[in-house]
Amino acid sequence: MKFLQNFFDSIEPKFEKGAKWEKYHPIYEGFRTIHFSPKLVSPKKGAQIKDAVDLKRLMFTVVIAMIPCLLFGIWNVGHQHFLAVGEAATLTDKLWVGSLQVIPILIVSYGVGLLTEFIFCVVRQHAVEEGFLVSGMLIPLVLPPTIPLWQVAVATVFAVVIAKEIFGGTGMNVLNVALTARAFLYFGYPSQMSGEVWTYLGDKTPVDGYSGATILSYGAEAASTNGDMMALAASHWYSGMFEFWNMFIGIIPGSIGETSTLMCLIGALILIATGVGSWKIIVGVFAGAWLMGLGFNAIGANSYMDWPAHYHLVAGGLAFGAVFMATDPVTAAQTEKGKWIYGLLIGVMTVLIRVINPAFPEGIMLAILLLNVFAPLIDYFVVEFNKKRRLKRATV
């Protein structure tokens, strides 16, 4: 790789202080450090050796953990398409159709996001940071496959600038970047973010009786009309769609990467095994949602409340949110006890929003954003406990 090193060495003078492209130095630096880990050495005093892990490797681990969700998502977009239009299709057909929908969204998200980052790095003269490696992948996975590409671009710019860069970049943001992008679209362009958006139809006509309803929209409908949720779900045009195991595997319409609880759990396994994601948060979210579901079962005021609690865990984006969104270390609670509370409350809030508030069929996005805002408060109390305890110990 000497030639690449030589190439970087040869262009380096142009980016040095006082040279022509001085202000683009962060971008030069960014590209060089992606290809070569830098030759920085430990300072003269203090720890003379450093752990071999850096933020790039850490973030990349998260990206790898999302790949099962991405691949399954691509297949599922194709699969749902052919189901809805009533055509038989091979695996290749499904992957092809899915790729045509998903890959452009992925490219726009990464392209526009990185461009925004680069502009900020030049303006603010800070290093290119790794955070967007993960956000760029997360954004497509939480959007419906039918989303217009320009909306992906607008939302990505909004999220990178408003949610992250104005706070000071990776590590400084209060809200999860990818969820901010989703929330922006959800409130800014609701017609592309709800209703008949979860299945890609293209220019084909769907089969007779087709509807793009999701299990959560059936729930909301049942709750507001006092109908029977299970009967509604059973009357779905494609029978068996909303059975537990079908939802667990994820062969249902929904956002690109969120449908498969199984794939999310594989991701969770990677995150937990590598120690990158907090298992406390993941377990907390699932436990909170399940307990809240049980609570509603006990009340049983309508058929949505009667919906068995474990169904909540495989519906909508709960699993995806729990594994990839709630565990974002920057926006989550940062103390170990706080992580339990944070996770549990996200689970509780998700089911609460789902069941009680029919205006928002899915609650995980809002629950995580809300708890992002409250995470510092949770930590505040945990830290205060620590201070009190310390004070007590020292004065005994």
Partner: protein, 484 residues
Amino acid sequence: MPEFSKLSSCLNLLTNIFASAFDSQVLIINMSKNIKLKRGFDINLVGKAEKKFTELAQPETFAIKPTDFPHIIGPKLLVAEGDTVKAGSPLFFEKTMDTVMFCAPVSGEIVEIKRGAKRRLLEIKILADKQVESAQFKKFSASDLNGISRDEVISHISAHGAWPQIIQRPYGIVANPATTPKAIFISGFDSHPNAPDMAFILQDKEAYFQTGLTVLSKLTDGDIHLTLSAKEEVPSVFGSVSGIKVNKISGPHPAGNVGVQIHHILPIGKGDLIWTVTPYGVAQIGKLFAEGIHDASKIVAITGSEVNEPSYIRTYTGACTNKVAEGMIKSGRNRLISGNVLTGESVGRDGYMGFYHNQVSVIPEGDYEEFFGWLAPSAKKLSFYRTLGMFSFLNRKQQHVVDTNQHGEHRNFVVTGAFEEVMPMDVLPMYLFKAIMAEDFENMEALGIFELVEEDVALCEFIDVSKHPLQDILREGIELVRNS
């Protein structure tokens, strides 16, 4: 606002429930004095010193570096270039603590007084005599020591060069003789990477060590605590100690850090004062009373992957590293460190060992670029984490060759919960660091800055994915609090 007060009392109740739930855990540890640590991290490196001596010529020069003592701001020199000194002759003192003398480790001629920017005193170099000649001070027999007063002890130690061996907490600075500590702590072992063997470097020092303990007991109304490793054999130097409390501690590094031991035995609160001494320091103090000389000779472990035969040498405090560089280390781009790789200082091939160090580490310099180094899988690279492609966790016993490469650039804090895993204290390191960065005095104190010195956060610095200089940050915080 009645609702509000209700809410706050409710929160208070919650706080107390939480607090008491944790208390019970702490109390159990407190009573038994047999501490078991789970958290921490042992760094296994190639190049542990074999228990034998390499005969190496003494370096021509030795130096005392005022920069080794963080409390020194205005040193007052007592010697000039060209003066001759004996081992134990005073060289300088700090104006704010003018009874504590910093003395020559060897006899010879002052050849250079090196100053840096703003005339800051950096090194006082002594060209050593072939045969070290010690200044003779008053000797104390065992019966003398029985009736000795505290003031006499203090003046004898502080006038003749052994006082800087006594460090006070909070702040990790040389103790002020005008104060009285709540207790004195001695850690009987060193758990740093490739640390010297305590029994080996203190051979034949049993009697001096016990004399040192007797003397130190005059300095505190409380106890002297010696904490030993529960998994190692008790070194003979500690075998027959009396008049003190002996505790045991087990677990990974930093079990040997005296700060961790204090934390579990007698936590430091605001206003508390604890003194710490290394076993080497105790023996030096003991010899000063028993023989009446300032003996700065020490046994130093020469360790690290770039040392030909890692072993021990005999030398004196402040030795020049040139003989080690010439005689013991491999060729190549190496870094010569005074101290261990976690807390030491790179001094170069012609530098001087730190006052408190009894180890030299030599490791490869890491100033190279690595093609996709952040992505390539490796079992050779040492990592605390199990992140993708890092396989060193599969075999924690394996000894690694680690160079000085920083592995990545500086970033903001992102990872949470990792520092706690290598910090076996009830401290929230990241919140403390953030409080220091924000110069938030109240939180620095409440979050435990009184309990910590640099070595206590060295593992955090090692594992920090965002590559912060955490030991420097902690020292900045300590100085802020100390000077406020």
